[in-house]
């Protein structure tokens, strides 16, 4: 036996994470990803997609193998949903729905792989995984995640809530969730991730969804993570002809977070809506990278990301609209608005358009600024304190995104923001 010599720091990090994953149980085959992981560069600020996102410190991350904890408490207790709970990448609670070979399946990926390997196999293959280090890392040692297979024409009557909990301590987790919505089917999914104040681990998770022809998927992502953890999320969607996709992301609380959202419209007449909001304060860091590929004609997309950076926090937004050759009659709108409130806060945004077809209507708008002085003056003249007026304006600013969530989630995110920024 020859001893494996790890020469680079990133190879050592990959080895440490893989080892931790192996201990908790890898679900699926990561061999292909391991191949290209070794060839990919570890992100540095010299790489365009990581220009503002520093991950050098993560190179020293040492995942600890800590004892298993009790399942987390129920979130949104009044919410009538089919619940699947995962703790640090392991399936810990929830009932499995299995209606046979071509029927509805809601459960962990591990069970789906055992029962229907052919249905699950093709889902997790995203080209992105062969081009980005952290995505390849996740794919090379994937953990369990939710698997939702909605058969053709099925209209689910109940939303599905995927709850991923990251317990305290320096743990590593690499959950991989899979969603497939069949022809003409509809599904509503909530992806919820949380962690307690003592968490300081690395959450490097993925979600791959395929939305079939004329299908409709609504996904609400809530990230409510206390502690000092790092979270890198890879969310990939492919859409069929005339399909509808809505993704709303609320970063309610995060110490250091990077979201990569990618949508590929793989059929004509697809419609995508993706909205998001973020509100880092203190020394927090939130980075949203989005990309939509209009690969076929007659597609539409509507993107809206709003956020603010307070204190010494950093907010990053990068949105790319790509209209491929011959993808005519595309209507793509992108809007990004930022409030910069802290003396030492920073906002970096890069709204990109790359267009190779001529009959398109594409636009993006991007603003960075402060409160409207007149609005502030109006509220003050009505007897509000400056803080109360600020808070009201922030709420109004975020409402455009938050109001799109179901009321229960909207209220929760609102309450978290209120607690963090001291709204009354």
């Amino acid at each position: 036996m020859t001893e494996v010599v790890t020469t680079t720091k990133e190879a050592a990090l990959a080895a440490r994470i893989s080892e931790a994953m192996a201990l908790s149980g890898v679900v699926g085959d990561g061999h292909a990803a391991q191949q290209y992981l070794g060839q990919l560069p570890y992100p540095t600020t010299r790489l365009e997609r990581w220009k503002y996102t520093r991950v050098a410190r993560l190179l020293d991350f040492e995942p600890q193998s800590l004892p298993e904890t009790d399942p987390p408490g129920q979130i949104l207790p009044g919410f009538n949903a089919h619940r699947l709970v995962f703790t640090a990448g392991k399936f810990t609670a929830g009932t499995v729905v299995d209606e046979g070979k071509d029927g509805l399946f809601i459960g962990p990926v591990s069970a789906a792989l055992e029962r229907y390997p052919e249905r699950v196999g093709a889902l997790a293959k995203s080209g992105f995984k062969s081009s980005e280090w952290f995505a390849a890392m996740q794919a090379s040692a994937p953990q369990d995640g939710a698997c939702i297979l909605i058969p053709e024409g099925h209209r689910s009557d109940q939303p599905i809530l995927i709850h991923h909990h990251m317990p305290a301590g320096a743990r590593a987790a690499q959950p991989g969730h899979l969603i497939q919505v069949g022809h003409g089917a509809t599904a509503e999914v909530v992806l919820w991730s949380d962690s307690p104040a003592g968490a300081c681990g690395l959450m490097n998770g993925s979600l791959d969804a395929s939305v079939g022809d004329a299908a409709d998927l609504t996904l609400e992502i809530v990230q409510d993570e206390a502690g000092k953890g790092h979270h890198i999320g890879h969310h990939h969607f492919t859409q069929g002809k005339d399909s509808q996709l809505t993704v709303r992301t609320a970063t309610a609380r995060a110490h250091w977070l990077r979201n990569d959202l990618q949508i590929t419209q793989g059929g004509t007449g697809a419609n995508s809506t993706f909205h998001g909001c973020y509100l880092p304060n203190g020394e927090q860091f939130v980075d949203h990278h989005t990309r939509i590929d209009h690969a076929h004609p007659d597609g539409q997309s509507d993107e809206l990301y709003k956020g603010l950076a307070a204190d010494a926090a950093t907010a990053v937004f990068n949105g790319k609209i790509m209209v491929h050759k011959d993808a005519q009659r595309i209507e793509a709108y992108q809007s990004n608005a930022n409030l910069l409130l802290g003396e030492r806060a920073s906002v970096f945004t890069k709204p990109e358009l790359e267009i190779y077809a001529d009959d398109v209507r594409c636009s993006h708008g991007c603003t960075t600024g402060q409160f409207n002085r007149e609005a502030l003056f109006y509220l003050r003249s009505r007897g509000m304190t400056e803080t109360a007026a600020h808070n009201l304006l922030v709420q109004a600013f975020l409402a455009e995104v938050l109001d799109g969530f179901r009321p229960m989630i909207r209220d929760h995110v609102h309450a978290v923001y209120a607690e963090r920024l001291g709204w009354t």
């Binding site: 409130l341 709204p351 358009l353 594409c362 993006h364 402060q370």
Partner: protein, 482 residues
């Protein structure tokens, strides 16, 4: 159905020959291709430069050797072989000229063809022209008249001889040698360019203009322009460029530095019409240019550019808003056709308080071209109450062309106000329909709409150039929509 089939005018446009593609057959002094320390020493010796200038060049050459050619721009091209270029070419009659009448008649004819008859200019338009052919300045008009005001307007080599202190004080302060690959190359081998100095409080009474032309085959053009506007002064500077039609790619790597001291204003306009290559993308000029200005307190720098030529453009005229209350402006129309590629935009770097910048960029893509806007707006932590407005519009003429926008917005001060908006579309059918039913032909309608589209920028050009720019644009506009 392609646009060209049902529109004869578009066909005419896409076949339109490059108007300035002639070569001038005059004897020239050209050194063999290749780049090494000896060549740099030779250039410096030919120009009879002082020792410090040679040292500066050699240092720059060392820096350049350690640098890599950048690849981040959204353009694809065969990298030039830097050893196959001749770094010095000058029309033979390089003896000092007493008056314009002594200029080589062939050269005079060239200028006439380019529409910059020095005589005419002298009498009618009151524009002082510096004409740079193959990197060497051959004629500068109106020198005495400017001299009365203390304004220095001459070629860079003359400035190095006659005003070494001024050159030494400012050269490389805005665009350092190490700034990028092409600025380092330029610093090592630049052969000429224009130098302009406006003393304190002077208001330059006429437009200063430089006309650049690459004439010789197998040469590159590396000119260096330095404009220094002292406290409270004003100058408007124009620059035009053309090159003959050749099958090979010619390299143009210029550096332009502007220094605007307190309360000074510099207006810098460019009409760039280098040879763009033929319809298949063969030949054409690689235009890799570094242009940057620095603004002291309450100073203003305004860049206006009309970009219609070059096979590949890589150009970001920028403003460093160092002083409080300074202003930067960037107005651009970039037209690409056939196989042209352009990656152009600006950088507005706000360092001082109450700084203000405006960016208006209009891209028009036709044929198989790729047209990108790339811009940076950076608000530093000390730039209180900085304000930026950016607007980047793209107009697509064909379904084989591309229009791209890559804006970078970095804010580090909570008092910053930044707005950016970009749209991409083709000419609205409803707009054309409206014009048609008012009795206009389709070509007139398109001309009207696109002219209106670019008007915001064209209006910023000085009158003399606006005419040329409109003419250039109109060639590209006629019926280029299907």
């Amino acid at each position: 159905m392609s646009a060209a089939e049902d529109n004869p005018l578009l066909e005419e446009f896409t076949r339109k020959e490059y108007e300035f593609g002639f070569t001038t057959d005059i004897a020239s002094d050209k050194i063999p291709p290749g780049l090494n320390e000896e060549v740099i020493k030779l250039i410096s010796a030919k120009k009879n430069e002082p020792e410090w200038m040679l040292e500066w060049r050699l240092d720059a050459f060392k820096v350049w050797q350690s640098m890599k050619e950048p690849e981040w721009a959204h353009v694809q091209y065969q990298k030039p072989d830097y050893q196959a270029i001749s770094y010095y070419s000058a029309p033979k009659s390089a003896a000092p000229l007493g008056s314009l009448d002594e200029v080589d008649p062939e050269l005079r004819a060239t200028m006439d063809k380019l529409g910059i008859s020095l005589e005419e200019q002298k009498r009618l338009s009151g524009v002082a022209v510096d004409f740079v052919m193959d990197s060497v300045s051959v004629a500068t008009s109106f020198k005495e008249k400017l001299g009365e005001l203390g304004i220095i307007f001459c070629s860079m080599s003359e400035a190095i001889q006659k005003h070494p202190d001024l050159v030494r004080q400012h050269l490389g302060t805005v665009v350092p040698v190490k700034d990028n690959f092409f600025s380092a190359l330029n610093s090592a081998v630049f052969t000429d360019g224009s130098f302009c100095y406006i003393p304190k409080g002077a208001r330059c009474p006429m437009e200063l203009s430089t006309y650049f032309r690459i004439n010789e085959a197998g040469t590159g053009q590396f000119e260096r322009t330095l404009v220094v506007a002292e406290e409270g002064s004003y100058v408007s500077y124009l620059e035009g460029c053309t090159a003959p039609q050749r099958d090979e790619n010619q390299l143009h790597a210029a550096v332009v530095e502007l220094v605007a001291k307190d309360d000074a204003e510099i207006k810098y306009s460019t009409v760039q019409n280098w040879y763009p290559g033929d319809a298949q993308g063969k030949g054409g000029v690689f235009n890799f240019v570094t242009k940057r200005g620095i603004c002291e307190t309450r100073a203003k720098i305004s860049w206006t550019q009309v970009e219609t030529g070059s096979a590949v453009t890589w150009k970001y005229p920028s403003c460093i808003l160092k002083g409080d209350g300074s202003t930067g402006e960037f107005y651009s129309v970039a037209v690409t056709n056939n196989a042209q590629q352009a990656d152009t935009g600006t950088k507005m770097i706000h360092l001082g308080a109450n700084t203000n910048s405006t960016i208006i960029s209009k891209g028009i893509s036709a044929g198989n071209s790729q047209n990108s806007y790339r811009g940076l707006v950076q608000i530093g932590p000390r730039a209180r109450n900085a304000r930026n407005f950016s607007q980047c519009d793209s107009l697509l003429m064909t379904d084989t062309s591309g229009a791209h926008t890559f804006p970078y917005i970095e804010a580090k001060n909570p008092t910053a106000q930044i707005e950016h908006e970009a749209t991409t579309s083709r000419i609205g059918e409803d707009q054309i329909f409206y014009c048609l039913q008012r009795g206009l032909t389709e070509e007139q309608a398109i001309g009207l709409i696109v002219n209106g589209y670019a008007k915001e920028v064209l209006n910023k050009l000085p009158m003399e150039f606006a005419v040329e720019a409109r003419k250039l644009l109109s060639i590209s506009l006629e019926g280029s929509v299907g």
